[in-house]
């Protein structure tokens, strides 16, 4: 990852969402993007020019645009039509984004489109986030990594965030993932946790 001092940046065409620029570098704000927050908290996951990414919950394409600056290709899955309009606009300018309008809970919808990827990034506001990750891990190569951004409040508002967090980690572990890093994204994002796992090698 590229750091200028203690500022995380990505190299690419600016003006996607009026982000701050440092010369030609686009500042990647940890308060706006959960992935940027994860890097600020310190993680071992690197995205390089060879990385192929499946991005679930692409939303308006804000974080996607930064990921695309680093990655080889980003398969960006989004379900709702309004954010999809924005995502398409971002994807028109970044030739390595493949925008897919589909439901992440039904990966069979995009089987004919998506190749095997090195990184599965998931940021969806759904109750069954572990299940979605497990179903989509069919696209992940052996040894590939999963980053799950857990919105604990989307799973169950009545449960304590810690309980939801532990349940999700357990579900991923029992599905065969090797859990590497678990951390809360505070102070950047409240009640959000990041879980980094590896899919075991063949």
């Amino acid at each position: 990852m590229i750091w200028i001092g203690d500022v995380l940046v990505s190299q690419g065409e600016g003006g996607v969402y009026s982000e701050r620029m440092l010369g030609t570098a686009r500042v990647w704000d940890p308060f706006r993007s959960k992935l940027a927050a994860l890097y600020h908290k310190g993680t071992g996951v690197e995205i390089t020019a060879e990385t192929r990414v499946l991005y679930l919950g692409a939303a308006n394409g804000t974080t996607v645009s930064h990921v695309a600056d680093y990655a080889d290709v980003v398969y960006a899955v989004e379900f709702a039509p309004r954010p999809m309009q924005d995502l398409l606009e971002v994807a028109r300018r970044r030739k390595n984004i493949v925008p897919i309008m589909a439901d992440a809970t039904r990966p069979e919808q995009y089987v004919p489109l998506v190749e095997t990827v090195d990184l599965l990034y998931q940021d969806v506001a759904q109750p069954d986030q572990a299940t979605i990750a497990i179903r989509n891990s069919a696209f992940l190569r052996a040894g590939g990594q999963l980053i799950l951004m857990l919105k604990t409040r989307s799973v169950d508002v009545r449960k304590e965030p810690d309980v939801v967090f532990q349940e999700t980690v357990d579900a991923l572990a029992s599905a065969g993932f090797v859990v590497q890093e678990c951390l809360w994204l505070a102070p950047y994002h409240q009640d959000h946790a990041a879980i980094v796992c590896t899919k075991p090698g063949a």
């Binding site: 290709v73 039509p81 030739k95 493949v98 925008p99 309008m101 069979e108 089987v111 095997t116």
Partner: protein, 313 residues
């Protein structure tokens, strides 16, 4: 054309379990059949392919090159992107083209205008009271719009302008209400016939769309818009709400207090059926409307005197 492609892919996949369908063509035991259609046809094809995740064989760009779909990886991504853009743009258009999509925005605009007009009127009155310490609305049945008119005529400067602006907003609101009612009659003719276009549109907006409303049970429609009361009931021992938005209909609020709940329940039951006819058929069903009206009217008239059981047919 649509039916042909659909039939083709559906029919072949289950029997030839080795065949994999991808956006560029079908791969069967290493043999590849290129799909000849243009970008739009490919986008259509992608939506129709059914693959189960159990028999999942990941796609590789090399297969596409061997197949003759593209020259190299860069070309593969370019062509794939074209297909994905076409598919997404078509899906967005499809989701927005639902007749209820615009009605939804109209209703929400209307409700927000109501809120704004009420807030501004309250504020203007408070301002006016400051200049006229003897002014009060107590014991006076002056409607709000007349009060606003008086404020505009009797004050000068900014306050007069604000009052004038509230009046203009109210005019726009009236026009919008008419438009909502008219559009609702068109989009949901059965529901509108039972409860009036404006209330029908509000129900639809609360449910989140016509298809959502048509999938709701009658008991949910009955208390739609009574969220606070419903959750208070679920949490504590307070009585359950009898009605939500449908209270706005004269049949419910004109009914005697002790049988309002009953009228609301019967009305909601008929509304649930009406919403389904509206969603799946989209035209007024006169026979249904006649029987439904009769049933609701009977409930309203009879139940005040008789017990519930005697009222049943």
């Amino acid at each position: 054309m649509r039916g042909m492609i659909y039939g083709f892919i559906r029919a072949r996949t289950p029997y030839l379990s080795n065949m994999r369908s991808y956006w560029f063509g079908d791969v069967d035991d290493g043999k590849c059949t290129l799909f000849g259609g243009d970008v739009q046809a490919k986008a259509e094809r992608v939506r129709l392919i059914r693959t189960s995740m159990e028999s999942f064989v990941p796609l590789t760009w090399e297969t596409a090159v061997t197949c003759g779909a593209c020259r190299d990886r860069a070309d593969y991504i370019t062509k794939l992107r074209e297909v994905c853009f076409a598919a997404a743009e078509r899906d967005i258009r499809q989701q927005y083209s639902g007749k209820d999509a615009e009605l939804l925005q109209m209703v929400r605009t209307l409700d927000e205008m109501d809120t704004v007009i009420n807030l501004l009127t309250e504020r203007a009155v408070e301002w006016y009271q400051l200049r006229h310490p003897t002014f009060t609305r107590k014991y006076r049945k002056t409607p709000a719009h007349i009060v606003v008119k008086n404020i505009r005529e009797k004050s000068r400067g900014a306050l007069s302008f604000v009052a004038g602006e509230i009046e203009r907003l109210s005019l726009t609101r009236t026009e919008l209400a008419k438009a909502v009612s008219g559009r609702a009659n068109d989009v949901m003719p059965n529901t509108s016939a039972l409860i009036g276009g404006l209330v029908a549109a509000r129900l639809m907006a609360h449910a989140g769309g016509l298809s959502d409303l048509s999938r709701m049970p009658a008991s949910a429609i009955q208390v739609l818009g009574a969220r606070t009361a419903l959750f208070a009931h679920l949490r504590t021992k307070s009585p359950s709400p009898k009605h939500g938005i449908i209270f706005q209909h004269r049949r419910v609020h004109n009914a005697p207090r002790d049988c309002r709940g009953r009228v609301a329940r019967v009305l909601a039951g008929k509304l649930a059926i009406a919403a389904r006819i509206d969603h799946y058929r989209g035209i007024a069903d006169l026979a249904f409307l006649e029987s439904a009206q009769a049933r609701i009217d009977m409930t309203g008239k009879v139940t005040g005197k008789l017990t519930g059981k005697e009222n049943e047919p």
